[in-house]
Symmetry: C2
Subunit: 195 residues, 2 copies
């Protein structure tokens, strides 16, 4: 997705440890028009899948996910990271390792928001080692729902998450695929779809 | 806002301790079309303020805020709650007490995303004691930016936050104003604007 690649080129910065910082439009400040374009792009790519629900994780997944849900006209559920008094006890839970935050975080979704009849599109901001997506897959499996696709805003293709998801035969669509962050430079995969 | 009041009537549940649970459309599962309608409503109510930036807090503020930013065509910044390795050291910081989670949480915004020339619209999902908004006001004051308005999805008018903001002469617009949650029943304030 050229508009997204351009935003990464213009505003992304590469930090030591293969970290791509895109805080000016995705992870801290948000560009709402870009988020809307991302939502429409995901809806187009997955329109044949009869999606009934979009699932993501707080916090950076919410903006692209809600725009995707709007374009697909389906509800969005964001997995929560901390247990609030307002959350019911009947939850599906998984643990997610964050390499950037160096923590292991429990995530959960209330059982009432995932049904065996659901065809779920997982949306997330980044795919690196795939730990967040694996946590969501575990939760969706516990609900006996169907994973119909995985949509990622920025895929770090040189890390193992994307390869693992392809091996498991999930339908993965990433809007920007990064081949390398070497020498503090962003290099995209050549075979990125042109639109 | 009648559409929102209807959603609260249809899907909200009142828990002990004056907690209104709206997890099915605002705090865990999201109704994207309702979020869009909320964003358009905030944009309409604050269109005369020449807003340059929408500011909220992760996680439940993000969906209404990004829809408001889309309608106003301005960037959105969500204050973050946990310090990630990808976040720069130059931040404005405040502490927020959460009564529902019984914690005190540091929140912060990177300095580069708030300028003295900014006219900020604060958006949040709930207003009760006003602690979250006070944290954001502290951060915006530190940046020497102007607070041009505060937009709240659900105001618990019987708790002190709204009264305090009016006393401080902030322009507060709440889309649903709850007079009472007594007897596990939601009662709205009579003078809610009709549209």
């Amino acid at each position: 997705m050229k508009q997204l690649e351009q935003a990464i080129f213009d505003h992304g910065t590469v930090l030591p440890g293969n970290i791509l910082k895109v805080n000016s439009f995705l992870n801290h400040q948000l560009d709402p028009e870009l988020m809307q374009a991302i939502g429409i792009e995901f809806a187009t790519r997955f329109k044949s899948e009869a999606i009934t629900k979009v699932v993501t994780i707080e916090a950076s997944g919410i903006a692209p996910a809600v725009m995707t849900g709007l374009a697909l006209k389906v509800p969005v559920v964001f997995a929560r990271k901390s247990k609030s008094l307002t959350v019911h006890d009947h939850v599906y839970q998984a643990n997610v390792v964050s390499y950037t935050k160096q923590t292991e975080t429990p995530i959960y979704i209330e059982q009432q928001f995932l049904a065996p009849t659901d065809h779920v599109l997982i949306i997330d901001d980044f795919l690196a080692n795939g730990e967040a997506v694996k946590g969501l897959l575990q939760i969706i499996a516990a609900a006996h729902a169907t994973v119909s696709g995985i949509g990622i805003v920025i895929e770090k293709s040189f890390q193992p998450g994307a390869k693992w998801l392809h091996q498991q035969h999930y339908r993965l669509q990433s809007l920007a695929r990064i081949k390398s962050l070497d020498n503090q430079t962003v290099t995209f995969l050549d075979d990125e779809p042109s639109r």
